[in-house]
Structure formats: structure tokens, C-alpha cells
């Protein structure tokens, strides 16, 4: 079934740890995105990719990095987590056919807490 997956769903980790948030999609989409969202607040685009080996920074500056080695996979990495990184991270993809071309499909999110 076509879907977009994020793991882990919840992560509690100590300051200074390296973490990787996984995002995979079986939608066949070429574009993928990472957003940061605090509860009940707006979404901020932190990274996007329009294809394999392309990554760009979004509108909100982030200390995280991303890679896009495979079409379906778009992991986000924090080399050294800090409490200020505590947030919800949403992954999305787009690139469907016809009127759905620019529609973004979202994963369930990863809620990260850094102690």
C-alpha cells in the first residue's frame, strides 16, 4: 500500500547524542520534505529534496542534515542533540499525477524530546 512512514514515532534522548529520524515513502514521489512543528503551532520547512542526490535547506534554519541517496528514503540526522531540538518532525512527499502533483502527503511524525 502506498504510504509514507516515519520511525521512531517517539524518541527521548539525552543531550549530545547523535540521532537519525527515518522517513520512507512508497508513493513513487520524487520530492520529499522535512518540517518542524511545535504542538498546535505552524509548520516550518527545514529541508527538502526534489530528487536523488538533491537536498536544499528550507525556510527555517536547522542544525540537522539530510541525505537522499534513494528516491524512497530521506533520513534526517542531528549530530549532537540539544534540548532546543525538542519538537515534532514531520516528513512529507509530493509528485503525484495530474491535479495531485503539488499535493503533499504527510507521515505520522516523530516526536523528539531531548533531555
Amino acid at each position: 500500500e502506498a504510504d509514507i512512514y516515519q520511525t521512531p514515532r517517539y524518541l527521548v534522548i539525552g543531550t549530545g547524542k547523535k540521532i537519525t529520524l527515518e522517513c520512507s515513502q512508497t508513493m513513487g514521489h520524487d520530492k520529499m520534505y522535512w518540517y518542524q512543528q511545535d504542538p498546535g503551532m505552524e509548520l516550518h520547512l527545514i529541508h527538502y529534496s526534489y530528487g536523488v542526490n538533491s537536498t536544499e535547506k528550507g525556510d527555517l534554519s536547522s542544525e540537522s542534515t539530510v541525505s537522499r541517496i534513494r528516491t524512497e528514503h530521506f533520513p534526517l540526522t542531528l549530530e549532537s542533540a540539544r534540548p532546543s531540538h525538542t519538537s515534532q518532525y514531520l516528513c512529507a512527499s509530493s509528485g503525484g499525477a495530474g491535479v495531485s502533483y503539488n499535493e503533499q502527503f504527510f507521515g505520522p511524525g516523530t516526536r523528539l524530546t531531548v533531555l
Binding site: 520530492k31 520534505y33 518540517y35 498546535g40 503551532m41 505552524e42 509548520l43 520547512l45 527538502y48 526534489y50 536544499e56 528550507g58 525556510d59 514531520l90 512529507a92 509530493s94 509528485g95 491535479v99 502533483y101 503539488n102 499535493e103 503533499q104 502527503f105 504527510f106 507521515g107 505520522p108 511524525g109
Partner: protein, 114 residues
């Protein structure tokens, strides 16, 4: 840079009352706009897109280029409409490319009381 404004952070109505969630954008050219909805403990999902001129779950949204608005309306609100709603125009850079990027508004939390 494009901006999108949803002036109401919170909106409360009673069941059966009409509801309008406001969205204003600053944009040059012909925008492509979306409304997204996030129900409690569910994923963010598309509610409707303006190019389809559709009605989803009784909601409609009309693009008013003169007022640069894309308000979301429903004549009779239901309790299950309680959710967070985001207006999101497609972002176009100076070169006319979007890469499918959306700019999300601040969101409006709609509560429909019984």
C-alpha cells in the same frame, strides 16, 4: 517572499452554525492554494485544493484574487470538524520554480461545540 496569514488562532462555533476560516496571502501571479486539516491524533492531510473547485466534507474555498484571500467555509459545522486547519499556498521562487514547496499559515484551531 510569499506570506500567508490566518488571523484567527482559535475559532469556536456551535454545531449547525456556519463557519469561516480566513486565509490571506501575499503573492504575485496565479497561486495554487490548499487547505490542510489535522484531526486529533491523526496525520496532517489535504482537505481541498482550489484548482479542483471541489467540496469536501461540506467545506468549500473560493480564491479571491482581488482580496488575495482563500477563506474556507462550511454552512453547517459538525462536531467532527473540530481540528487544526492550515492554509498553504504553493511557494514560487524568484525564478518561477516551486519544487512543490508549500508555505503553511499559522493554523486555526476550530472547536465545534454540541
Amino acid at each position: 517572499a510569499q506570506r500567508v496569514t490566518q488571523p484567527e488562532k482559535l475559532l469556536s462555533v456551535f454545531k449547525g452554525a456556519p463557519v469561516e476560516l480566513k486565509c490571506n496571502y501575499s503573492y504575485s501571479g496565479s497561486p495554487e492554494l490548499f487547505w490542510y486539516v489535522q484531526y486529533s491524533r491523526q496525520r496532517l492531510q489535504l482537505l481541498l485544493r482550489h484548482i479542483s473547485r471541489e467540496s469536501i466534507k461540506g467545506f468549500t474555498a473560493d480564491l479571491n484574487k482581488g482580496e488575495t484571500s482563500f477563506h474556507l467555509k462550511k454552512p453547517f459545522a459538525q462536531e467532527e470538524d473540530s481540528a487544526m486547519y492550515y492554509c498553504a499556498p504553493l511557494s514560487i521562487n524568484a525564478g518561477g520554480t516551486s519544487y512543490g514547496k508549500l508555505t503553511f499559515g499559522q493554523g486555526t484551531i476550530l472547536t465545534v461545540h454540541p
